[in-house]
């Protein structure tokens, strides 16, 4: 597929990196900053074009006339929309994805369409991040909660904590602990390495465990791995920007929310719009303020200001002062790696989340959902099995017969309304939605090919 990525920011760069890794994609990146492009071209096998992403000549130079997909990720909503408009008007580019931050545009769905602004998918990173964090808060203890098959199946990543019933026990005992529950452990990471989950694998403290479960069976399984039981009741959010504000609004009806914002105007505006949130003006890294507001009682502290270093510091401080779980919004992958699991419980990476949403639309039609895990090293995907007269490699086979790449496990199967946990003798049928976990995302292409309609892998 010929792909043009407009904007070489965090998300653009990561998207280029992930897409160029698949041999089938030809990636061209457009940006105005020559030095950034030069660095990018040294690292990746892509073409770069320097110039304003919304200018017809620049799009043409980037191969607009033959592009299959334009992904507009510049930091201006307007440039992104105009670029999509131009790609559509001049080149009839089939698929156009744009990052649109401003909520104003999203509120008017009729703005987007072939006869209006031709954006096939308008991604709002802030909304995606808000949804993501909201899920994490609803399920305390989880590092990641990802939806498959319209939320009927979920993939949960958690860190095993001392006191969890399964911790220190073999996986085979799981059935005795929680009988009749549809749960399957898809992957275990120990000290950064993936451990193959088998019946005799013992779950150890600090293991990062990913399991697939039907929605209703999540909670019992989570109790097996950690001691936290109740949902969060008291949440403190640092930063009343786009994400902080949306998060507060999404949570305020159900839990007690305190929102800390340094900028007086912004704090006042937030306070005027929000109903049940206590908006505080001050510095989230101010120990006095945090203590005053009973940080030691908070179930969750989330730092989502624009400055990632400040997020890290205030989250560490909150943890030290007694907040039960702390999360920080961190853009730089290297920072996330450094902090997560240590002094900060969860590093929220907007680009990983945005990329997950992006990849779904980029992948072939048979792969309906893709989530990036562990900062892009692993991946979970949902794919549809097609009936295939020419002996399909998948349909009509037992799972153990399928030749999956190393590190790839089938976690669950959604057949119509039913959710089946995968066992070695489960037979896969046509039109099943299969949920896979890949510990090594280099195999993504191979797995994608397995599910491609009409071809033999």
């Amino acid at each position: 597929m010929k792909i043009i990525i407009l904007g070489a920011g965090q998300v653009g760069t990561t998207a280029a990196q992930q897409l160029a890794r698949e041999q089938a994609n030809d990636v061209t990146v457009v940006d105005t900053r020559d030095d950034v492009l030069r660095d990018l071209q040294d690292r990746l096998d892509i073409r770069t074009v320097s110039g304003n992403a919304a200018h017809p000549a620049v799009l043409e130079a980037a191969g607009g006339s033959s592009a299959d997909l334009v992904i507009a990720l510049t930091n201006s909503d307007e440039v992104n929309m105009i670029a999509c408009q131009i790609a559509w008007t001049l080149f009839r580019t089939p698929t156009k994805i744009a990052r649109i931050r401003s909520g104003d545009y999203h509120r008017r769905a009729e703005l987007f369409g072939d006869n209006a602004i031709p954006v096939d998918l308008a991604i709002s990173p802030e909304q995606l991040v808000t949804d993501y964090v909201e899920r994490l808060i609803r399920y305390p203890g989880a590092l990641q909660v990802l939806n498959f098959a319209d939320g009927r199946v979920r993939l949960v990543g958690m860190r095993a904590v001392k006191g969890g019933k399964l911790v220190g026990h073999q996986l085979r005992e799981l059935n005795a602990h929680i009988p009749n529950r549809e749960v399957r452990v898809a992957a275990i990471y120990r000290g950064g390495r993936s451990v193959k989950p088998e019946g005799n694998t013992t779950i150890e403290e600090h293991d990062e465990v990913f399991f697939v479960a039907a929605r209703d069976d999540m909670r019992p399984m989570m109790k097996e791995l950690s001691t936290e039981e109740a949902t969060a009741r008291r949440v403190v959010i640092a930063g009343a920007g786009n994400i902080g504000f949306r998060l507060a609004r999404a949570l305020e009806e159900r839990v007690q929310v305190k929102l800390i914002e340094r900028n007086v105007d912004r704090a006042r505006r937030a306070a005027e719009t929000l109903r049940n949130t206590l908006v505080l003006t001050g510095d989230a890294a101010d120990e006095e303020l945090l203590l005053e507001e009973n940080i030691d009682d908070a179930d969750v502290f989330i730092a989502v200001t624009n400055a990632e270093e400040a997020n890290i510091l205030s989250a560490m401080l909150a943890k030290k002062l007694g907040a039960r779980r702390v999360m920080a919004l961190i853009n730089k992958p290297s920072y996330s790696e450094l902090m997560e699991g240590g002094k900060i419980d969860i590093a929220i990476s907007p680009q990983t989340i945005t990329i997950g949403a992006l990849l779904e639309h980029v992948r072939r039609g048979d792969v309906v959902r893709v989530h990036s895990l562990r900062r892009g090293a692993a991946e979970a995907m949902e794919a549809i099995v097609h009936a295939d007269t020419r002996d399909s490699t998948i349909a009509g086979r037992r799972i153990e017969e399928i030749d999956l790449p190393e590190g790839t496990t089938i976690g669950a199967i959604v057949r119509g309304d039913r959710v089946l946990m995968a066992h070695h003798d489960t037979v896969i049928e046509a039109e099943d939605h299969v949920i896979l976990f890949l510990t090594d995302r280099r195999h993504v292409e191979e797995v994608g090919r397995l599910f491609q309609a009409g071809t033999r892998a």
Partner: protein, 483 residues
């Protein structure tokens, strides 16, 4: 430094290179010259060495960094010199010493075209073909070919490509994937070679000579299958065809590709470098034609034009074919022509030299400096085709000039110390570092009579010139080897 990966790629490329020994075997069998065994032996030896390098590290999978790319390219070019010399050394005709065989192979691959063999017409067909073939492979570059063909290179391909392709703008790619860019360049190159072959055939060459000379014309190499070079054919038509295709070989192949793909010959005129290259060639030819005629070097204006244009294009594009030769031409012409080799053709062409574009940038920078003296507070950007040249490129070009002349001087002093006279020494270095071939003085036709030590110096000059100095000089800097 990622040595296992470097070793793996070197092994793979040697295995690939060993396959190029097979066509000469075919030629030997087709013409029944009985000389297939040197190539078979060379094939086995090179393939075995390649396998020995590759097998222990075949499972290493890591990204090749820019620095590793330079190392691969430099080391591989050294390998090429020796590996390419193997069949020449094994064969009993011609009888070549190790020095001569390596010199001949390096001269072939770097498309220099200087030879140490006299009596070329008597060589077996397979050897003749082999000499032409190495020129053709070296023209667009074996490493670029490897990038096009070897699937394992991936991102590493870019660092190899950058270390081998000539010109200051190394980041420009024709396609998003470097592999496709390399393929496009090779296809264009092969297509033009085919056209040139057809031209030679129509003009009356036999098939063997047509293919052989097309190989060394587009690669601007200069090897011929005859001692007399193009004078052997003594045909104005053949001279004209050769002149035309040598000129094309001196233009940017990316430009050829774009013009052919877009069916748009006007692209040539929009390219500042091509324009400068064109007018430079035209101006020198015009001046030389009139001057040669005036000095009674040739009887008619027509003959003067024919030989002046052939020789000047041949030298300017660093090919080095000879009809009349130029060393005995009157006045400043011989020296002027050697100086022209400092310019040569365009970036991304198969020529040697410093490339037209670098001279354009340096000259315009010079003019800008002059203007700056008159208007100290003026903003005077250096522009190409109406767009400012990034400062980084300008300083890169300035650095290139400095290193180039230092290396030039060192090599020239070495040759003089070995005992060559001044004219021979400086023209030999110019002819080798710019990959031209013939020089002045004792090296006006062949390098047969220079001492062995001087041949080694010249071989180094050719290699250094072919990969544009930096790649080799870089390996001598302590910074490169620091962890």
């Amino acid at each position: 430094m990622n040595l296992p990966m470097v070793q793996r790629i070197l092994g793979l490329m040697l295995i690939m290179f060993s396959l190029t020994m097979l066509p000469p075997i075919g030629v030997a069998l087709a013409y029944g010259d009985g000389h297939w065994h040197p190539f078979l032996t060379a094939f086995l030896i090179i393939a075995a060495i390649g396998l020995a390098l590759w097998l222990p590290v075949r499972n290493v999978r890591r990204d090749l960094r820019l620095r590793d790319g330079f190392l691969v390219v430099a080391v591989f070019w050294f390998f090429l010199g020796v590996a390419g010399a193997t069949p020449l050394l094994i064969s009993d005709i011609p009888v070549l010493s190790f020095t001569d065989a390596v010199f001949e192979a390096v001269s072939g691959f770097t498309t220099t075209g200087a030879t140490v063999i006299v009596g070329i017409d008597e060589l077996p067909k397979s050897i003749l073909y082999y000499r032409q073939q190495i020129q053709w492979l070296g023209g667009m570059g074996i490493i670029v070919l490897a990038v096009a063909l070897l699937p394992v290179l991936g991102i590493g391909g870019m660092s190899l490509y950058k270390a081998e392709t000539p010109g200051p703008f190394k980041d420009q790619k024709l396609t998003p994937r470097i592999k496709e860019t390399a393929k496009a360049l090779w296809k264009t190159y092969a297509g033009l070679t085919l056209l040139c072959t057809l031209g030679f055939l129509l003009a009356g060459m036999d098939a063997f000579d047509a293919i052989g000379h097309a190989f060394s014309t587009l690669s601007t190499g200069g090897f011929s299958t005859h001692d007399a070079s193009f004078a052997y054919f003594d045909s104005a038509t053949i001279d004209a065809i050769a002149t035309f295709f040598m000129f094309l070989g001196g233009a940017n192949f990316a430009l050829h590709f774009l013009a052919i793909r877009g069916h748009n010959p006007r692209l040539y005129w929009r390219d500042t470098e091509f324009q400068a290259y064109f007018w430079l060639v035209v101006a020198v030819i015009a001046g030389a034609t009139i001057y040669l005629w005036f000095m009674n070097e040739f009887d008619t204006l027509g003959a003067s034009l024919r030989h002046a244009s052939f020789q000047i294009v041949s030298i300017q594009t660093s090919t080095g074919f000879l009809t009349t030769g130029f060393a005995h031409w009157p006045g400043a012409l011989p020296a002027l022509m050697i100086l022209l080799t400092l310019v040569c053709g365009c970036a991304g062409s198969t020529t040697g030299g410093m490339k037209v574009i670098r001279w354009l940038i340096v000259l315009r920078q010079g003019v800008a400096e002059l203007k700056q003296l008159v208007h100290p507070s003026a903003e005077i950007p250096v522009k190409l085709a109406g767009r400012p040249v990034p400062q980084r490129i300008i300083s890169g070009v300035a650095g290139f000039f400095a290193i180039y002349f230092v290396v030039f001087a060192i090599l020239m002093f070495l040759l003089m110390m070995i005992g060559l006279d001044q004219v021979t020494a400086w023209s030999a270095v110019a002819a080798c570092i710019n990959n031209v071939g013939p020089g002045l003085g004792d090296v006006a036709v062949t390098f047969k009579d220079v001492p062995d030590a001087a041949k080694w110096v010249c071989a180094v000059a050719m290699l250094v010139g072919r990969v544009e100095i930096f790649t080799f000089v870089l390996l001598l800097t302590p910074d490169f080897w620091k962890k």
